[in-house]
Symmetry: C2
Subunit: 284 residues, 2 copies
């Protein structure tokens, strides 16, 4: 997905939020705003938003000296998500379609986000999302391809959300490679977060090699890119991964909540919709 | 009110919205974003937000060549507001406290705003606001000072909103000087808008001399400043006028809806609250 004009004020809002989490020093916060404001004119609109996000969040770390401002929030998110795990498992148990229930739970986990849409209330939003219909639901194709797949490449998104991913992984009953970011960026899941969520007991966790808030292939490691190229069934979680990969020609299913108008418009859905979408290049 | 950090991304969002209304030329819209992004670092935080708003909206006019992008929207707002006038008058007629009902209606008109909070639905929002309790309600002091006043200086805010102001002016039954902006800025009311709303039949309409989206005294005409200084009872409508005048030492009542978190925090109320507030310096 390209960068839209609306992404530019959003980068500045995100920078302010992240700077405040990274430091209490008002001068440093102001410097972040000043420098990100200056950066905006040089953002190539043909780049995907996470490419710019990467530069913005690097700048925040550089100015504030805080390399992982969301560390505490990430741990808390995972803890809260783990406390919800038994209830969510029970929901799957009691559902008529266990796989679809688990998919919906994995998407619901995508509400945990301190980037584009940080104003969430996990428990209340969860109830709302689990009761919601899909904006796009390519379930039959997902089920069909899953049945044929011998393994799954699962691109994780945020810390905390990993716990919800675990529920889907448990239902798919196939070998999974679970991909995390290489270095902390916003509240995106790194190795440590995936392990805290218990993913290590179910899947092989690898790093994509990127420090961007999305799987931007050109910033990923060769090892990851090789695995990606060979994968026949990929699950991509969240907006950042959608933004980075929506124009790829590869067997990807996007599972996300459309949290901002720009992504919703790009998908042709309403803001707030939940999405299970096979990549366009494979729908043709 | 000073400029808060949160105002900076908001200026950029407002600039994008205004640029899109002013022109279809994507290059010009990008130029607005680039230049406003560059301006942010030079904004003195001790200035009030409308001082910066003035510079931002001037920049948009300069780049797009459109001096009055909101002209059509303003006319439509007034037309819609006029269509609601009979129902609103009826509401006053049927109320136990006509003056308080008219005050609430005048505040409700403040939802018409294409600046800080443009995502409004006049008819639906009106029903909601009219059913809402006040966040701050200095009604007794307002009534007391109004009874003693021999004339009223009424600082208007947005086009369309003028129709709602008309209802309050009709209830106060005192001579009114109604103040509009000198030149178009956002959807703020100018002379033409006040006349379209029918204010000229009830009040003496004057210009404050400013082209800022708020009554920033240092940008106002000497004539206006003299009238302001002599006034013993001033009604100030909307956020822009609140932001410009909240630190004054003058007999002002602010009537507004707190449309953004920054203004709500400054007032110590919740976002969305409706406010009838005597200026602090007169509360002591």
């Amino acid at each position: 997905m390209k960068t839209y004009f609306d992404c530019l004020p959003c980068f500045l809002s995100q920078a302010l939020r992240a700077a405040r989490i990274a430091t209490d020093d008002e001068k440093k916060i102001k410097k972040v705003l000043d420098e990100v404001g200056m950066m905006l004119k040089d953002i190539p609109l043909e780049n995907t938003p996470p490419e710019t996000g990467r530069l913005v969040y690097r700048k925040i770390s550089e100015i504030t000296g805080n390399l992982d401002p969301y560390k505490k929030l990430k741990k808390e998110s995972t803890k809260t998500a783990l406390s919800l795990y038994p209830t969510l498992k029970d929901r799957v148990e009691k559902s008529d379609n266990r796989l679809l229930a688990a998919i919906k739970i994995a998407i619901a986990g995508n509400i945990i986000d301190f980037g584009a849409n940080w104003n969430f209330d996990l428990k209340n939003d969860l109830v709302e999302i689990l009761g919601k219909s899909f904006g796009i639901c390519d379930y039959n194709r997902f089920k069909d391809r899953l049945d044929k797949a011998d393994k799954i490449l699962y691109l994780g998104d945020n810390a905390g959300e990993c716990v919800f991913d675990r529920i889907l992984i448990e239902e798919m009953k196939k070998p999974v490679i679970y991909v995390v970011r290489d270095k902390p960026v916003i509240n995106d899941a790194t190795y440590e977060d995936a392990v805290q969520a218990g993913i290590d007991k179910l899947a092989n966790i690898i790093s994509s090699g990127t420090d961007a808030p999305g799987t931007i292939l050109k910033t990923c490691s060769s090892d990851f890119k090789n695995i990606y190229k060979e994968s026949k069934f990929i699950i991509s979680k969240g907006q950042g991964n959608y933004e980075a990969l929506s124009n790829e020609n590869h067997p990807i299913f996007f599972l996300l909540k459309a949290k901002c108008r720009v992504v919703a418009d790009d998908l042709g859905v309403n803001e707030g919709d939940i999405i299970l979408k096979e990549i366009d290049s494979y729908n043709i």
